[in-house]
Symmetry: none
Subunit: 125 residues, 2 copies
């Protein structure tokens, strides 16, 4: 399940007590303690307030990103895996759980190529 175990680390890094954090957030000590222990789950507003207090992002508290810094988009976000539809050997494509046949992919490639050609017709002058 989705844990919030990064909360305690964020707090201890700053040497803050449960009482201090819960005071800053305007909630009972036991309430915030429940978040850290996993006994309770914070509301959206509570977790947003925690992200503000710790100067981090909600996604970091949720463990969805690894950078604690408040949301700075790296310009090289194209570090994804590039898959060439002309020679895809190690991958299978699916839609709604159903696998696409090679024929269907070939048809799509042909379709896209024609589409691009039509978009770039003017070679005039």
């Amino acid at each position: 399940m989705m844990n919030l175990n990064r909360l305690m680390a964020l707090r201890k890094e700053r040497n803050w007590s449960l009482q201090y954090v819960s005071d800053q957030l305007g909630m009972a000590k036991s309430t915030y303690a429940g978040y850290e222990s996993g006994y309770r789950r914070p509301s959206l507003e509570a977790i947003a307030a925690m992200a503000d207090l710790f100067h981090t992002s909600v996604d970091y508290i949720l463990g969805r990103v690894d950078e604690p810094g408040t949301y700075t988009e790296p310009p090289n976000s194209q570090a994804e895996k590039m898959i060439d539809l002309n020679h895809l050997t190690n991958y299978t494509l699916s839609v709604d759980g159903r696998v696409l046949s090679e024929e269907e992919i070939r048809q799509f490639v042909a379709f896209i190529k024609t589409k691009w050609e039509l978009e770039q017709p003017a070679r005039s002058k």
Copy 2:
């Protein structure tokens, strides 16, 4: 109060229906509709699933940041080589070195789905 009015924009940008989104998220249509209207508030796991589906961050849905990007694929324990075109996240498709836009992939998915429907007129729930 904290609004989630970006949800509807994210859905309409993709021309998705409430039924489709709620199916993808595994919840009732009325439940997801409650999120968009502000009638209900999603759990942390629900909003994380929505961020995954819309290929964005929880902070963006919450309105804490303005950039829709910033996303790192969550630990997905599914089959490695199976790529679902509905949730294209950390993959980029290309043909002859040119990258396919998300819109083009969406069009292709829509095309394939209608093709399959025509091939199989039998309907089951």
